[in-house]
């Protein structure tokens, strides 16, 4: 039923839609403020050499998340 994956698992170039946020309190608030509300399209741009952080395109802005943060954003991949 729920085929969401954590955002950090997506490869470079993939696009996905946010389904839910696995975070509470301040972290949740920050993710929401950066535009990650359910239904938002996110594109994985690239990873830094050590794999962390990862750059995403969220609503026109390029934002870098660490693995621990990206893990909290659940998405479904879209082609």
């Amino acid at each position: 039923m729920n085929n969401s994956t954590p955002l950090n698992r997506l490869g470079n170039g993939c696009c996905a839609l946010v389904t839910e946020l696995n975070a509470e309190g301040l972290t949740r608030r920050r993710l929401l403020d950066l535009g990650l509300v359910p239904g938002t399209k996110v594109e994985v741009i690239r990873r830094s050499p050590l794999g962390d952080p990862i750059a995403f395109n969220i609503r026109g802005a390029i934002i870098a998340f660490r693995k621990e943060e990206a893990e909290k954003v659940l998405v479904v991949q879209v082609s």
Partner: protein, 261 residues
């Protein structure tokens, strides 16, 4: 005798923020996301007429300056760059407290023209606190370079507030910005920000809470916004209201005593 909140209130709450002006000068706040060129706008408007310090009691830097337009001096306060006003961080708390309690005569929200959607989140939040908002779409030269065209009129109609495109780096749009600030601050233009409508359940809750809020704090602060924050469970705001009104009351009492002495 006439020592009412009207006559002393606004200048005493502004004193709490250490705004150094004659009390009769117009105060303009500059808000916006980080990396929108807000500081460039600030520097372009104030030139060398500025100084930096701290927000009272906080470690957050503050730049304060002034500019002259149409023979009038405007004090410009550069609020910390924030993504929102939910008081998650000291910067957000400082920005929100200033907008809410010092009640600037106009607030300019600087947004990045190449990334409007993300930036408008803050603009809408500011518009929920105060009506006197001007949206400054900066980095318009970058947008042009990326072949992005922004329909300024349409944006202005959609938001209900004046919108001015600028490329502060090159000085473009600054005189129009000053004119727009002046119009709003002097009441020549009265923006009517479009209200963000929430779900039925939330609007119903607002309808219940807002009248009570108005009873307690009057119309000094946007009551719809306060009601929303209460529904949100924002205890920090309640504490801040208590702090500022107690401060303001004791300053008013001081002022009253000085007159009697």
């Amino acid at each position: 005798m006439g020592l009412t909140y009207q006559s002393t209130g606004r200048s005493t709450t502004r004193e709490i923020f250490n705004v150094h002006n004659a009390g009769s000068e117009l105060v303009i706040a500059l808000a916006g996301n980080p990396n929108t060129g807000k500081s460039t706008v600030f520097n372009a408007l104030t030139g060398l007429r500025q100084h930096t310090g701290n927000w009272p009691g906080k470690t957050v830097l503050r730049a304060e300056g002034s500019f002259i337009h149409g023979g009038r001096r405007y004090t410009l306060i550069d609020l910390p760059g924030t993504y929102s006003l939910h008081a998650n961080s000291v910067e957000e708390e400082v920005a929100r407290d200033f907008l809410c309690f010092a009640k600037p005569d106009a607030t300019v929200v600087v947004v990045d023209g190449t990334c409007l959607e993300r930036n408008l989140n803050l603009a809408l939040q500011v518009m929920e606190i105060t009506d006197n908002v001007i949206v400054c779409v900066n980095l318009i030269d970058e947008a042009r370079r990326k072949k992005m065209h922004i329909n300024i009129n349409k944006l202005s109609n959609a938001l209900g507030v004046p919108v001015v495109p600028t490329a502060a780096r090159g000085g473009e749009g600054l005189s129009e910005l000053m004119a727009a600030i002046s119009d709003v601050a002097l009441g020549r233009v009265m923006p009517k920000p479009v209200l963000v409508r929430y779900s039925d359940a939330v609007e119903k809750a607002i309808a219940q809470v807002e009248p009570k809020v108005r009873e307690i704090i009057g119309a000094h602060i946007n009551t719809r916004w306060v009601a929303l924050r209460l529904i949100d469970g924002d205890t920090k705001l309640v504490q801040a209201i208590q702090r500022y009104y107690n401060d303001q009351e004791s300053k008013q009492a001081e002022a009253a005593l000085e007159v009697l002495a």
